[in-house]
């Protein structure tokens, strides 16, 4: 028994190391001076703690502003996309609208199409609507893209929602609106909170569309700012690691914080 547990533990430790290795590499090289990197290669331990790379990058791209931009965009998208997903999935999963399979399929197109194919239409639409180079354009686009996935997931979750609960609420005199907010949403809260976290992180990491739509540096997001270091022919490995570290950290921090809060939220919802 204990041998088996030891074996499982061993395998898990190996897996964890494999998973964490890229992050360790980034961390290692972010804290190295360029001279140290060339002398000892990417795998050597830093000779001394070198924070200048991180500081330089922060100042060079005005990272604080990029953090605010990314937070506003990813935050708005995750909340709005969850809201839209709830409404559409309520109609499709519980309302059982006719032809719902096809509706879901059409929604999914937004997710399945490569973003390169979407870029030109989006660009012309944004220009026509006078939204080119505004954060609002990116928020609208990603609310649609993320809620497409959200609709797909939530509608299949809601199609297995116990009909008895809906019936009971209706007999008690609740309207559709009340059933949604008083019955369905509290019970689905765990799923919704997971969606919220995913939407936030996915939107945070988006690169291509923000790069195309957000022209001026004042509107740029974190991943686009990281691209500044990628030169035409040369790359600066330590500066890039420093920037990658700054780029990953917020998403990880967000995940850690909200994981806690959201699990507590789930527990509360369950008792009700």
């Amino acid at each position: 028994m204990s041998l088996r547990r030891g074996l499982v533990l061993g395998v898990l430790v190996v897996l964890a190391v494999v998973m964490l290795f890229p992050f360790l590499l980034v961390l290692l090289n972010a804290l190295k001076s360029p001279a140290d990197y060339t002398a000892n290669g990417p795998l050597g331990l830093p000779e001394s703690l070198y924070l200048q790379g991180i500081v330089d990058f922060w100042e060079r791209v005005d990272f604080g502003l990029k953090l605010t931009n990314s937070t506003v965009i990813a935050g708005s998208v995750s909340v709005l996309a969850v809201l839209v997903s709830i409404l559409t999935a309520y109609a499709l999963g519980i309302g059982r609208v006719r032809g719902r399979v096809w509706i879901v399929a059409v929604f999914l197109l937004a997710n399945l199409m490569p973003q390169e194919a979407l870029v030109y239409p989006l660009y012309f639409l944004a220009k026509e609507a006078d939204l080119y180079d505004t954060k609002l354009a990116v928020i609208i686009i990603f609310t649609a893209v993320q809620s497409a996935f959200g609709t797909y997931l939530l509608s299949s979750v809601l199609s297995t929602f116990p009909r008895e609960l809906v019936e009971a609420a209706r007999i008690d005199g609740a309207g559709r609106w009340q059933i949604l907010w008083r019955v369905v949403v509290p019970i689905c809260w765990p799923t919704l909170s997971v969606l919220l976290v995913f939407f936030f992180i996915w939107t945070w990491n988006e690169f291509f569309i923000p790069m195309i739509m957000l022209v001026s540096n004042d509107n740029q997001t974190v991943p686009v700012a990281l691209g500044v270091l990628q030169g035409q022919r040369l790359m600066d490995a330590t500066a890039q690691s420093a920037s990658a570290l700054l780029g990953i950290l917020p998403a990880v921090v967000f995940f850690l914080i909200f994981q806690r809060t959201l699990t507590r939220g789930i527990a509360v919802g369950a008792i009700k």
Binding site: K127, V228, L234, T261
Partner: protein
């Protein structure tokens, strides 16, 4: 705790924030010059252009420069869309070549600078082989009749060598191709691989092209790059290039493992002192200079060849939608002035219009002198991947086959000919 009621409150709050961030006012024309480039602040161009910004603001009272540093990839991917909107900057650095500046000029997104160039005398400062990449015809092919860009700097390839390893093995700096081959034989005999090569990216194809260039002349280059005359991939130059390259692999001048090595690792391996030589471009110069402390190093032009890979650097282009074209011209003019050009040279770049005597930094002067030697013999051969969109990957695959020995030199040349001829048929349509 999160409850549905709170959620709604959060949403309303978010919506309010959203409406607030929708608009940003445009700066008034004439008081602000929006400038984009993608050179890092400590590179030669970054240093020189920062100085130029100061100079511009000093000479233009009441005008500020709004500089935005961009990523190379961002400008490559989004330039066409940005320049077609009213968010276009007044002046930007853009990649030269048919598929980039040429394409934008064909689409009417760039300002025709021909009149300004003659008026301000920029054409007198630029040598003919540098001018080729600034001028495009109505098909968007370089070497045309209208100016669309102005370069500040140039680049070319050379041989970087490790002086310590040369001394240790009793090898002198080669002055002809035979001497270079003899030198590499000496290293191989002593168990040292002479060349650091990365065949996963551009370096290997540049060596192949360099070998072909050593048997070619500027008409050959014009034929290949500007679609001006017959191009035969089995002619003397190409055949010599591919066969010699295969021969070099066989003799062990470059390692067969190089197929898995990228350009970055090639440079790092040379800078760690593991290889006596590296054939690559001036873009490495500053980095080698600041990184290598453990051994003495220097460079020489590829021996036995009048031509070397190289061209003007990236271009200043003025978008057709720029509201401040005159200011943009003024800025370009400042960057062409002797003091800014000298600063560029002293910071490790290759200025296109500098007086060599103004370059006081010893290693930088060598770099600029070698460049001027090349220019005087009309020796810039551009790059092999320029003539055809997507040719870069074809060349990477071709050189990898030469290195692994999975295709003969003539088969490889056949592979290069296919896409080139297909592209030729569609030029200008």
């Amino acid at each position: 705790m999160f409850t549905p009621g709170r959620l709604v409150a959060v949403m309303i709050a978010t919506a309010t924030v959203l409406t607030a961030c929708g608009d940003d006012g445009d700066a008034a024309a004439g008081t602000e010059l929006t400038l984009w480039h993608y050179e890092s602040p400590d590179s030669a161009m970054g240093v020189a252009w920062n100085k130029a910004i100061e100079e511009f603001e000093r000479t233009h009272d009441g005008v500020t420069v709004k500089f935005e540093e961009k990523g190379f990839e961002q400008i490559q991917k989004s330039a066409q869309m940005v320049l077609n909107s009213d968010e276009a900057p007044d002046l930007l650095e853009y990649n030269k070549g048919n598929a980039t500046a040429g394409l934008l000029s064909k689409q009417g997104l760039l300002t025709d600078l021909s009149d300004v160039v003659t008026e301000r005398g920029w054409d007198d400062k630029l040598s003919p082989s540098v001018q080729t990449t600034c001028k495009y015809d109505e098909r968007g092919v370089m070497g045309g009749d209208r100016w669309f860009g102005v370069p500040n700097y140039a680049e070319y390839t050379m041989v970087y060598y490790n002086k310590d390893l040369f001394d240790q093995h009793g090898v002198a700096v080669p002055t002809s191709l035979d001497e270079l081959t003899a030198a590499m034989d000496t290293f191989v005999d002593k168990g040292v691989t002479p060349l650091s090569v990365g065949a996963k990216e551009y370096p290997a194809q540049q060596i192949l092209y360099q070998l072909a260039l050593s048997k070619a002349d500027s008409d050959w280059v014009r034929g290949f790059q500007q679609y001006d005359g017959e191009v035969d991939f089995h002619d003397q130059a190409w055949t010599y290039g591919a066969e010699t390259f295969a021969d070099w692999v066989e003799k062990g001048y470059l390692s067969q493992d190089s197929t898995g090595i990228d350009a970055e690792s090639m440079g790092v391996a040379f800078m760690e002192g593991k290889f006596p030589m590296m054939i690559s471009g001036s873009w490495w110069y500053g980095r080698v200079q600041s990184t290598v402390k453990d051994f003495a190093w220097d460079t020489f032009l590829f021996p036995g060849s009048d031509l070397a890979l190289g061209s003007s650097g990236n271009l200043w282009v003025v978008p057709e939608n720029s509201p401040n074209k005159e200011l943009a011209y003024d800025f370009i003019d400042i960057t062409m002035q002797p003091d800014i050009q000298a600063l560029l040279g002293n910071s490790g770049g290759i200025p296109v219009a500098a007086d060599v005597s103004a370059i006081t930094d010893e290693p930088s002067r060598k770099l600029v002198e070698n460049y001027q030697t090349l220019v005087e013999r009309d020796g810039l051969g551009y790059y092999p991947d320029w003539p055809v969109p997507g040719y870069y990957d074809v060349l990477v695959s071709a050189t990898q086959k030469l290195i692994s020995g999975s295709a003969s030199p003539h088969e490889v040349l056949g592979e290069l000919a296919g896409p080139y001829e297909e592209n030729l048929a569609t030029i200008g349509s």
